[in-house]
């Protein structure tokens, strides 16, 4: 079987075929083919050239591969190699074309050149190598394409997840901003933001800390989720972990464990906090606190996307706090500081708006009887208390749609919206007179003041606020003239 002419070469080619199928990359296949070719021909030198580059060579000292000589043999410009230790050795080469042309080169010491069978074997081996390299290249390209496709699929999944996250964030922000627009109570708005942070950041702990009104060096818990202990807890800013650091630096901060933390933070987190991230919140442009998320999960880290989400939520906290601040300031400007009732200006503005809408109204003008005497006798502190109590008693008898204003000194103006019936207005006035006339306990003494109320109705074609007030004022004087502690309705002339 192996004795016929060329049968050894056939066998060696079959062996090469069997061996080449075990290679998984082109470099290993080129080296393996070179070694196999040298072994089969009992040659000392073998090399593989691809695209004009020697990619595998054996037989030369590693640092002295005669690359140019090998390339020359590959181009059939010479048929021998000068091999260190051997000298001039006959060389044979076989080429292949295609997308990556190459040559297999074999050189053997001795005077005998290669036989026809051996040259044929080198050609066969070169063909096997070409096929193997082509197959491995195809496999590599397919593998790379598959990897690219898998990477793309993974990226798509990530993008989709990111999109879903964005949508959830937008839903939350929409709810939060509507609540702010509606001027929902600030605690409700802040609770909504904490809930959104819990949902979006998957955190076990969310807390909003703001400067303590009594001590600006401390932080007080405004609202939270996942913390233990009293809801009114406060701690020095320097011991508040990430919140304190965010406040100090004015930027996003991530803190590991209990760095820059005191016992209070440890207590309210049960000592299990692994990582926390805080973003400063602002009120009216000033840093006033921090929104914090924390985790007890080992190995948890916060991504740049999560930091951005927390930043957006913190901006909404800032928006809510600043809006509340603005509302508070506006209210302070339009209301009487002592009684909390509308100022004269606000009252007139509202009255004008009401009348401009063509809606009927009853205006009650109230003046305290003998207030000046009480003020002079008991001092202005008692006088202020009388005014405050009076305002509260008056307000008690009004509907939410009605408006009370302090018009000056001891004068109050009351707008009863949509009241056309004089009797109805008189009934309200009388109830107020009765309430105001109740004794007041202030500074250890009992003081009693009465009120006189003048009533004017808009129904008689009065659409001017000042005119209506003047009419009510005139009626009030009528009441006082009639003996105080009573009401009088203005009768148009």
């Amino acid at each position: 079987m192996a004795d016929g002419p060329g049968s050894l070469q056939v066998q060696q080619l079959l062996e090469l075929l069997a061996v080449m199928s075990s290679f998984t990359d082109e470099d290993a296949a080129a080296r393996g083919a070179a070694e196999r070719a040298a072994q089969a021909l009992e040659a000392e030198v073998a090399a593989v050239v691809l695209d004009g580059q020697v990619v595998a060579a054996i037989g030369f000292p590693r640092d002295a591969v005669a690359e140019q000589d090998l390339l020359a043999v590959g181009r059939r410009e010479r048929d021998w190699l000068d091999v260190p230790g051997l000298g001039k050795s006959p060389a044979v080469t076989a080429s292949w074309a295609g997308s990556r042309p190459g040559q297999l080169i074999v050189a053997r010491w001795g005077y005998d050149s290669f036989s026809v069978e051996e040259r044929s074997l080198v050609r066969g081996m070169a063909r096997v190598l070409d096929l193997t390299l082509t197959m491995l290249r195809t496999l590599r390209v397919e593998h790379e394409m598959r990897q690219r496709s898998e990477r793309q699929a993974a990226e798509n999944t990530r993008l989709l997840e990111s999109l879903h996250e964005q949508q959830r964030l937008l839903r939350h922000l929409s709810l939060i901003q509507r609540a702010i627009e509606r001027r929902d109570p600030v605690p409700d708005v802040l609770d909504g933001i904490v809930a959104a942070a819990l949902d979006l950041l998957g955190g076990e702990i969310v807390a909003l800390w703001t400067r303590d009104a009594a001590d600006s060096e401390r932080l007080r818990l405004r609202t939270s989720a996942g913390l233990r202990g009293p809801e009114t807890v406060s701690m020095p800013a320097g011991e508040a972990g990430a919140a304190g650091e965010a406040l100090r630096r004015g930027e996003v901060v991530t803190v590991s464990g209990y760095a820059v933390s005191g016992t209070c933070l440890r207590d309210i987190t049960d000592g299990h906090l692994r990582i926390s991230m805080a973003v400063p919140v602002h009120e009216n442009g000033q840093v006033c606190g921090a929104l914090v998320v924390g985790s007890t999960v080992p190995g948890r880290i916060y991504t740049a996307e999560e930091a951005q989400t927390l930043r957006v939520l913190a901006q909404n906290v800032s928006l809510a706090l600043t809006d509340a601040h603005t509302v508070r300031k506006m209210h302070q400007a339009a209301h009487d500081a002592l009684t909390g009732l509308a100022s004269r200006g606000l009252f007139l503005e509202r009255l004008n708006e009401h009348l401009a809408e063509g809606r009927p109204a009853a205006l009650l003008f109230l003046d305290l009887d003998r207030f000046k005497e009480a003020n002079d006798e008991h001092g202005h502190i008692v006088g202020d208390e009388i005014l405050t109590v009076t305002a509260a008693r008056v307000t008690t008898h009004l509907r939410s749609t009605d408006l009370a204003g302090r018009y000056g000194g001891d004068e109050f103006a009351l707008l009863l919206g949509d009241v056309e019936d004089p009797a109805e207005a008189v009934a309200v006035a009388d109830r107020i007179i009765a309430a105001v006339g109740e004794p007041i306990f202030v500074s250890g003494r009992t003081v009693t003041v009465n009120a006189s109320i003048g009533i004017a109705l808009s129904g008689a074609g009065r659409t001017d606020a000042l005119e209506l007030i003047r009419a009510a004022d005139a009626a009030m004087y009528q009441a006082k003239s009639a003996g105080r502690g009573r009401s009088s309705i203005h009768q148009p002339i």
Partner: protein, 421 residues
Amino acid sequence: MNGDSGNITPGNVRPENVKPENVGPTVAVGRTRAHPDRWMGVGRSAETDGAAAGRAAAGAAAIGPDPQLVLVFVAITYEPAEVLAGLREVLPGVPVVGCTTHGELGPGGPTDGTVTVAVIGGTGFAVAVRVAENVSGRQREAGEDLARAVDAVERRAHRVLMLLTDGAIRDQESILRGVYSVLGAEVPLFGGACADGWRMTGGYLMSDDRVLSDAVIAVAITSEAPLSIGVRHGWSRVGQPMIVTSAGDGRVYTLDDRPALDVYLERIEAPPRAWTDPEVFTAYTLSRPLGIQRRSGIEARNLSTEVDLVGRSIGGGGAIDHGGLTWVLTGDERSILDATDAACKDAIDGLDGAPPVGLLTFSCAALRAVLGEDGIVKEGAHVEKWADGVPFCGFYTYGEIARTRGIDGFHNQTLAVLALG
């Protein structure tokens, strides 16, 4: 490698020297054809104490000035560390390399149970030693590293890299491929795999004061005179070939698509007990290696030592590749002794007519099974005749290394000879 051997008349046969007790406590053997700058001396000792044997053998071998290398071949019955301690007492500071054996070769005949030492010396020689450890699983990389021994040795006109390997390492061809990939064709390779007296529990390598396993020792030897290698076996193929249909990592799993063990035993007409008893299997198959066809002849592969009676696969020696053809080989005392002569002649002829100062002779442990006690005495006598009075020294190996042509160099069932000119 070639099965052809020259016709040499056997020399004096001294069977009484097979046993260590017949060697005498210490023997200094061989006259040296002392060249002013190059010499080799051989000493052997059968002292039972390792240190004493080391001292005695080294003392007998150190016959000249400027000793460059101590080569020690130690029977598995000795404690290698003790032998090294004894050697280094006599030749402190001289590099020591060596290994355990399945019998020691030297003037006076082969022995079991001795410490046999060769000392190579004189300013005409230079050596550098490099050791690779934890070689299994990274044979090629270890070979690449070991090649650097050649960079460390003083340059002379001629050089060789001698490798002593742990015979338990599989795929020793890869060690040689690693070496060859760095050195190329310029540096011939010679050496052998350590043996363990057929205990199959593992032999040891020795380097200076260290005893190593799963290791390879490389000794770069340069000389101002030629260094020449001969390697031969006495086998020829019989019958039709078998196709290796599954093989890997030094094992053959199937031949002709049937379990390799079954096909092999059928072909060699093994007795029934060889099918079930590993010891009987080994004893029977040692003298019946498989062969693979190469351009210039048959290469023998010893598959007698790592039989798997359950998995019905065979293994042990050099690689037989998947997809190749293999034949049962046959050989006898005559053909093997002819090969002994041819290997010696090849090595000595390579010295370009100059006489050798010494020979290193590494013979296959499996040949002992073919030749028998009388046969190995004859083998020793043949070598001694070719040595013609110069010292020679070696051991029975679990694999011989000799690369002079082509890229392959790991052999089974051969005699490898390095002649030092």
